[in-house]
Symmetry: C2
Subunit: 191 residues, 2 copies
Amino acid sequence: MTSSALPPTLAISLPDWIGDVVPWDDAFPTDEARMDLAIALSRENIDRGTGGPFGACVFEQQSGRLVAVGVNSVQRHNNSTLHAEMVALMMAQHRLQHFTLHDESLPVHDLVTSCDPCAMCFGAVPWSGVRRVVSGATRDDAANLGFDEGPVFDQSYRYLEARGIEFHREVQRQAAVDVLERYRREGGAIY
Amino acid sequence: MTSSALPPTLAISLPDWIGDVVPWDDAFPTDEARMDLAIALSRENIDRGTGGPFGACVFEQQSGRLVAVGVNSVQRHNNSTLHAEMVALMMAQHRLQHFTLHDESLPVHDLVTSCDPCAMCFGAVPWSGVRRVVSGATRDDAANLGFDEGPVFDQSYRYLEARGIEFHREVQRQAAVDVLERYRREGGAIY
């Protein structure tokens, strides 16, 4: 391969169905309402055959305005970094044209994800600038499905909390687990 | 904003100068030779003003064939996930059209990075399929520059080692640190 053939440009997109199912202009007043959307995305992603059973959103914390969404896109894009949370964070930063969502010129942002973040997504949180992480299914729920979420420990949470990042876990947990169970029943790929 | 306006496609590319400085067809027989390239990328990235002082490469472990490179692209793309390691892993998977580099049909791959991976990049390692991580500057060297690498602990290393992933650290450390020091002297952005 010659140098002129490399490197390529990667194109990262959301599935076409996103435009049909995401109510961009709805009000999302509570963590529960915001989580409902993240879980709906996780469910649609398996029903439409576009990836693993995980969805995530970035919201403005105070207003509840929806800024960006993500779904697991690992297989669709042949890219192991494209977990739902990573896609949502990338899309939010792209929309706002900031490499951090924690900026004087911006409102405070939260990440809402259908499952506790894996070690990669957890480590992405402080760089992203979100100030709160709301999650549904737990690390153990993901492990029951066969996904190893990697080295996230109690002290990992304390490390980020000491830097002002808050966590609200097990929001709508059963609904999130229902999607994981459905994925398992239908024989979805575990990688 | 209407739903039809969203979501966008993100385009992730390497800087144009990559094609001029990466000797794709060279032999890279040793970890030291492979690290020299990762460090050269970190240096070029600051000299050309395209990002932070970090470079990374994916190599075939046995043959030493260069598969992909990455440089820190956070500011250039307004995307906090685009650390050098993440870009190199994405580009390697794109080139091979696999979402994991650990596959019976593929040779074994290593990640070579000019600095110990932060918590995000560390968490990305098991998903990526690389079987060994070679690093130059240490977490403390990055902290001295003002970068907080996040929740990576001794037990994080043990967690991945228990899953068969090896680490070779402090390879060409001083040369890697020299680039970090130069970045600091020149007043590079710390985020």
